[in-house]
């Protein structure tokens, strides 16, 4: 048997619907035989009647409805058709879900699934990575699974958490990642993972960029340079301890993210390492993100807009040379 990243998301939802009567899924085009724009819920509406519901094109009301249901004890999962459309629901996510517990002591256990990240030809409105934006606001847990195993266990954990969780699933990984089987072990949300040990440079990254970083590490290894790759897994909370421990081993830090460059996850990691681990650094920490323009449609432009193995390698060489 083999399982893709997308199938792991579907399997996690099957498990959740089967094991937890409080769970229902709410989203556009997710029901019927269709099973979602990316088929993440295919077959689930038939298997769990009345619990996988098509909604109108009303993102703000979809999340608002989920918040109300969560306050009544349910565990709704909202599927956004694309992460980019969750901007419509920002008010409900940030101002209602994000403040609910703090204001009233009533927790708000919703999970919002965001099909995120760039793929060829998807353009400015079907490619965004919004984890940094959501992490900026208080009251949310934000995760970015980068492996089939994490896609599965982190979705199950997200629903179990008593707080709103923004679950960013990367569309490029849907079909490109395969594992032999569903995982039997897990690392909890809030813990980063060292996915490749090294001694010369730490690349700290998340989501699909983990795989670009691994490709670069592989390439450098042939020249005797050992890059350590840290997959953050969860962006909020951010596992500063694992990052600092890695930098303590390597003395050099490069942060890689697919999101826009102003602020965001890479800036946050560098800020923490600079203020709490300055003494560990042998070189100035560096970061590489997408360019500061909307995400272009044309593959020639898109592939240069986001970090890629070539640009990551060039930046890594800079940090190593310092």
């Amino acid at each position: 048997m083999s399982v893709t990243y997308l199938e792991a998301i579907r399997e996690a939802q099957t498990y959740l619907l089967r094991e937890d009567k409080r769970v229902f899924i709410y989203g556009q085009d997710i029901a019927g035989k269709f099973g979602g724009a990316f088929k993440a819920t295919k077959g689930l509406a038939e298997q769990f009647p009345g619990r996988v519901l098509n909604t109108p094109i009303s993102e703000d009301a979809m999340v608002g409805t989920a918040i109300g249901a969560a306050m009544e004890g349910m565990r709704p999962i909202v599927e956004m058709q694309f992460a980019d459309f969750s901007s419509i629901a920002l008010n409900q996510i940030l101002n209602n879900a994000g403040t609910q517990y703090w204001r009233t002591q009533v927790p708000c256990p919703i999970t919002v699934r965001l099909p995120s990240g760039g793929t060829k030809g998807s353009g400015p409105f079907h490619s965004q990575s919004m984890e940094g934006l959501y992490s900026h606001y208080p009251g949310l847990v934000v995760v970015t699974p980068a492996t089939v195993e994490d896609a599965y266990t982190m979705l199950i954990d997200a629903v179990a958490i008593d707080d709103p969780v923004i679950y960013c699933e990367h569309k490029y990984l849907y079909y490109h990642l395969k594992a032999d089987a569903l995982p039997t072990e897990k690392l909890p949300i809030g813990k980063a993972r060292v996915v490749r040990p090294g001694r010369d440079l730490s690349i700290v990254t998340n989501s699909a960029m983990v795989h670009e970083a691994l490709a670069v590490a592989q390439q450098f290894s042939a020249d005797g340079i050992e890059i350590e790759v840290v997959d953050l897994r969860s962006v909020k909370p951010l596992d500063t301890g694992t990052v600092l421990a890695s930098v303590a081993r390597t003395g050099r830090l490069l942060c890689v993210g697919e999101a826009f460059p102003w602020g965001g996850v890479t800036a946050e990691v560098i800020a923490r390492v600079a203020s709490e681990g300055f003494h560990l650094l042998d070189a100035a920490p560096a970061r590489i993100n997408a360019k500061d323009t909307p995400i272009p449609y044309h593959p020639n432009l898109w592939s240069e807009h986001r970090p890629n193995a070539k640009t990551i390698a060039a930046k890594a060489r800079q940090v190593l040379a310092e």
Binding site: D29, P56, E59, I88, P124, Y297, H298, N300
Partner: protein, 341 residues
């Protein structure tokens, strides 16, 4: 109410609309062009998606054909016919789909997300309903600047009608009393979702009253009705009446995009009167009323095919954008570009 007066206007007894043949030619051009785009997509020559308006050509062409210089047009996914009627060159479309650096979007955006604001054709963002208030703002500004006789027309689907942006946009247009025409096409599916999961009112045109609009309905498969109804709404908007809501009924005769086989469309719905093909119906009327004979139609088809082939061939020979030459700058104020290391 206007909607009852105009519903069911009979096609066959009236003399055809003065723009009938002009509209038909654009519909036919749209059909031939979009079939070409779909085949390029199937052949792997178009990256991203292809979204066509098959079945919706009569509504769409009627949206563009009454607009004049100075008007604002904010088309959406299925508006190739309307865009052409408004004056968008086929080459712009071919260039956008095929990723030519010479296209209006220069490879930065693709497919239906194109426009040319300088000519009055706005470039839609994906987020449905978002263009409605933008059109309102254009109209408000034109009034402030003392322009006269202009209108704005924008389109939406029955699914897009359910967004908050649409609601807010419709309301603010009425509050500002701008000359807006909103043409909503109920093609009975929003991607895979049928109407019973989009709205629960009997007919979307009933919303007109609630917003302070004048509402009218058209059989979207009947070109005469589309021209009459939308033409009248445009005229009323120009005359200073409140915003106009036109609801046209059709079936989407294609997938949501060309990646979609639309297997969720039921056989029952395919037998509904609104599932008729507006282009076929128009062609039939043309032959019945002898506006053209078969030979004339054939000649029109051949001319159009040549135009389409030329646009595609031209775009295909043009260079793609190159990342290293791209101006990576998203603000127009050069000295305020943030140089992020």
């Amino acid at each position: 109410m206007l909607q009852t007066a105009e519903r069911g206007a009979s096609t066959s007894k009236k003399a055809p609309h003065e723009k009938y043949l002009e509209a038909f030619r654009i519909m036919l051009q749209t059909r031939i062009f979009e079939e070409k785009l779909a085949s390029l997509y199937r052949g792997g020559l178009i990256t991203g998606g292809v979204y066509i308006g098959r079945g919706q050509e009569a509504v769409s062409v009627s949206c563009g054909i009454f607009l004049q210089k100075g008007d604002v047009f904010a088309p959406l996914i299925r508006d190739q016919a309307g865009r052409s009627a408004f004056g968008e060159p086929l080459l712009d479309v071919a260039r956008t789909y095929l990723g030519s650096r010479l296209g209006p979007m220069r490879g930065r955006d693709g497919n239906i997300h194109r426009g040319c604001p300088k000519t009055g054709q706005l470039a839609m963002i994906s987020h449905l309903g978002a263009m409605i208030p933008v059109v309102v703002g254009k109209l408000l500004a034109k009034r402030m600047k003392g322009e006269k006789g202009f209108i704005g027309l924008t389109t939406i689907g029955e699914g897009g009608m359910q967004t908050g942006a649409t609601h807010e946009g419709m309301n603010i247009a009425a509050v500002e009393h701008v000359p807006l025409v909103l043409v909503a096409t109920n093609n009975h599916y929003a991607y895979s979702t049928p109407n019973d999961r989009q709205f629960a009112c009997a007919d979307l045109v009933d919303r007109a009253k609630g917003y302070g609009y004048e509402g009218s309905s058209a059989d979207g498969t009947d070109l005469t009705q589309c021209l009459d109804t939308i033409g009248a709404a445009v005229k009323r908007a120009r005359a200073g009446r409140p915003p106009q809501l036109v609801v046209a009924s059709t079936l989407r005769l294609a997938g949501h995009g060309e990646h979609d086989d639309a297997s969720y469309v039921t056989d029952d719905i395919r037998r509904e009167p609104f599932a008729q093909d507006s282009l076929q119906r128009a062609e039939q009327l043309i032959l019945e009323q002898e506006l053209l004979d078969r030979e004339g139609l054939q000649q029109m088809r051949a001319e159009i095919a040549a135009e389409v082939d030329e646009a595609v061939a031209t775009a295909q020979q043009e260079d793609a954008p190159v990342g290293s030459e791209e101006d990576w700058c998203a603000v127009s104020t050069r000295e305020l570009v943030d140089q992020i290391p």
